[in-house]
């Protein structure tokens, strides 16, 4: 029996920002997979439901030294301080409408439980959570493409990326019917990962050394000695997480060869970056 079968999964993602072209396939694949509605004007990005949102980063320099990069931002599925499952949003939801799956590491959202207080949105520094300000309406006939795997949300509730949890369930069901204990890496892939034409998104189990995500991220199993809240820091010098210093412990990692891109992953005081940019977890644990 494989060792990993007894361990909990910890599904996560690595996005190669050098490969990302900002094409938007992940966003649309996500919308189409998850029955995300659309409305007449989506140009106010502060009320446009995009579980996966691609941000444009610039290095802030002027012509011709200016550079840009794109950063896709799904829900980060934070493990919370110390990776104990108290994600910023989960810990504040008053009605347990969002919950942390200790067997998967996935932060769920129960639409029929959510009563729309939006506290979780205030708690999330990534703006990964979206509120249904409007009734979702599809033009006549277009509701025909809605997938039964994900229930359309009603007005007044919060929604967000689920790492396509229904795909995990489907993969588990298949494995169960076939008498297997566990699913294979390729059986459970999110809609954004499968859509990405550049292959920039890699998805899998961070706890499984055989999975590509684990091999790229090389997560440090020990808490960061500099900040005990941080667990799973990447030991790959090119890999970073968004706002890692807050101790949210996201399961979405980013990869870039470009230093200015890595620097934008977090906030640093003047001069601080140069001091800590070469610090990549406790290498003694290798």
């Amino acid at each position: 029996m494989k060792q990993n079968n007894n361990k909990a999964h910890k599904f996560g993602m690595v996005i190669d920002l050098d490969k990302c072209t900002g094409c938007g396939s992940c966003m649309v694949s996500c919308m189409s997979e998850n029955n995300v509605p659309f409305k007449e004007d989506e140009s106010n990005k502060k009320d446009s439901i995009t579980w996966m949102r691609v941000y444009k980063l610039t290095n802030g320099k002027s012509f011709p030294d200016t550079e840009i990069a794109y950063l896709p931002r799904p829900c980060q599925h934070c493990g919370g301080k110390g990776d104990h499952g108290h994600s910023p949003c989960v810990s504040v939801c008053p009605a347990v409408a969002t919950d942390y799956g200790y067997d998967t590491g996935i932060v769920s959202q129960i639409y029929t439980r959510c009563f729309g207080c939006r506290y979780c949105m205030g708690a999330c520094p990534y703006h990964a959570r979206y509120f249904n300000w409007w009734d979702p309406k599809w033009p006549e006939g277009m509701e025909n493409y809605l997938s039964p795997d994900v229930s359309p949300r009603m007005r007044g509730v919060v929604e967000k990326c689920s790492f396509c949890y229904h795909r995990y369930q489907a993969a588990k069901d298949t494995a169960y019917y076939e008498g297997r204990d566990d699913i294979e890496e390729h059986e459970y892939q999110t809609a954004c990962a499968t859509a990405c034409p550049a292959g920039a998104i890699v998805f899998g189990d961070l706890n499984n050394p055989a999975h590509q995500v684990h091999q790229i991220v090389k997560p440090d199993p020990h808490p960061d000695p500099r900040n005990k809240h941080i667990v799973g820091k990447s030991r790959n010098p090119k890999v970073f997480r968004l706002l890692e210093r807050l101790g949210t412990n996201p399961k979405v990692y980013y990869l870039s060869e470009r230093e200015w891109v890595r620097k934008q992953g977090d906030n640093y005081l003047d001069g601080e970056w140069d001091k800590i940019k070469n610090y990549h977890g406790a290498s003694s644990h290798d």
Binding site: H86, P88, P94, Y119, G122, R129, M154, N267
Partner: protein, 421 residues
């Protein structure tokens, strides 16, 4: 016309004048109710909130009315537990103000949530780790306490008191009020604190997050403290307004001075704690997350250092000092300035702890988000104010709210004129 309902010996304006006044304010209430129904039936797209501003004007209004409504629990605590007897002359009014504030808060919450029909989930499916759950439970329970505290005053209405059962009920409730007041203080301590905790636990938001004691961030204690400190300011302010509108002196100066003095000392101690908290946050907490203080107060069109200085110095230190010093406290003008500044200060604090949190960018590539409420939000926020004015007018007209009213207004010089009955 309604003289049978008016407390014995009290002089009130004519009923038509009263009715016209109430009707004018009711128009505002109707405007608010219209906006409220728009929000309920059309959804929260009626507001200018968005995914960056999940919490906005309403949550501020909620926190603010609960903060200024804190006068009820704190005065109750002083009156019933610490047995400061003079305060019995203002406790009724403090309770009414508290009742208005808390019922308004509950109403605003009922509009604010996206699925009002599911509001009860917060109780049914309670997540005990959420500060908001604690707020909901304690708020509702404390509202029950306020109702209990308000009932005897209602039953003291001239007609109601004629019913023997009501008479006895009011009497007996007074008898055990200390128990209710103690429970109320306990509940208030937690929900005022939890409202502070709502911001303080947001460890994804460096502007909000605070370290603390066990599960409680420092904002928990600061909120309770500030509500106790500034709540009486609001009680005094509304009393002053009521006195001005009615043209009568309703509470004796010694009572006002006492409450102002207590408030002053609470403000001074609070503001010292707040300054320490702010310095610690600015020098230790935020920098440890990679943020310098200037990040929170620059590069945007509204939030500057002015808001920090206004909140802490102008509307914190200044009213505290004015109310602590006997000479300024007993000067009616300076006292009035102090309590107005104090009320503004606590409201500003709540604003900062709700809206500025949402405005500050956290991801390095994110931008400041500014917001202005829609008319529907403004109308529903003005609604409780109008409703409060009506409730206070009705209560003042028909209930013996101010025990000293008679003594201060009729017993000395006006007495012979107003004794036709």
């Amino acid at each position: 016309m309604d003289s049978a309902l008016i407390p014995e010996g009290a002089k009130r304006c004519s009923f038509p004048k009263f009715a016209i006044g109430v009707a004018i304010v009711s128009a505002v209430v109707l405007w608010g109710v219209f906006a409220m129904f728009l929000c309920w039936f059309k959804g929260l797209n009626q507001t200018n909130m968005n995914d960056y501003y999940g919490f906005a004007l309403w949550i501020w209004a909620d926190l603010a009315v609960i903060a200024v409504g804190g006068g009820a629990f704190f005065t109750g605590l002083l009156r019933y537990i610490f047995k400061i007897d003079e305060l019995k002359n203002i406790i009724n009014f403090a309770v009414i103000i508290g009742f208005i504030c808390y019922s308004s808060a509950l109403l605003i919450l009922a509009i604010d949530i996206g699925q009002p029909l599911r509001g009860w989930f917060i109780f049914w499916h309670a997540n005990v780790h959420s500060m908001l759950t604690e707020v909901a439970f304690c708020l509702s329970a404390y509202f029950a306490v306020l109702t209990i505290e308000f009932i005897p005053n209602i039953l003291e209405n001239r007609q109601a008191n004629k019913v023997p059962f009501f008479h006895h009920l009011a009497h007996n409730m007074h008898g055990v009020m200390a128990v209710f007041a103690a429970t109320g203080a306990f509940l208030s301590f937690f929900h005022q604190g939890s409202l502070g905790g709502v911001a303080g636990v947001l460890y994804g938001r460096p502007f909000a997050v605070r370290e603390g004691l066990l599960i409680w961030p420092w904002t928990f204690f600061l909120f309770t403290w500030s509500a106790a400190a500034f709540g009486p300011c609001f009680t005094l302010l509304v009393t002053k307004i009521t006195e001005t509108v009615t043209g009568k002196k309703l509470v004796k100066d010694n009572v006002v001075h006492l409450l102002a003095k207590i408030s002053g000392w609470m403000i001074v101690t609070y503001i010292i704690a707040k300054i320490i908290d702010t310095i610690y946050w600015a020098m230790v907490t935020a920098p440890s997350l990679g943020f310098s203080l200037s990040h929170f107060y620059t590069s945007n069109g509204f939030y500057g250092y002015w808001i920090l200085i206004t909140e802490i110095v102008l509307c914190g230190v200044v009213p505290g000092v004015l109310l602590v010093m006997k000479s300024t406290r007993e000067n009616p003008t300076l006292r009035l300035i102090a309590i107005i500044l104090g009320v503004i200060g606590v409201c500003l604090n709540r604003w900062v702890m709700v809206l500025q949190i949402m405005a500050v960018p956290v991801m390095s590539f994110d931008t400041w988000a500014l917001y202005f409420p829609s008319w529907q939000e403004i109308a529903t926020t003005v609604l409780p104010v109008a409703y409060g004015i009506i409730l206070i007018s009705v209560a003042y007209r028909y209930l013996p709210v101010f025990p000293q009213e008679h003594e201060l207004n009729y017993s000395v010089e006006v007495e012979p004129v107003t004794e036709p009955e």
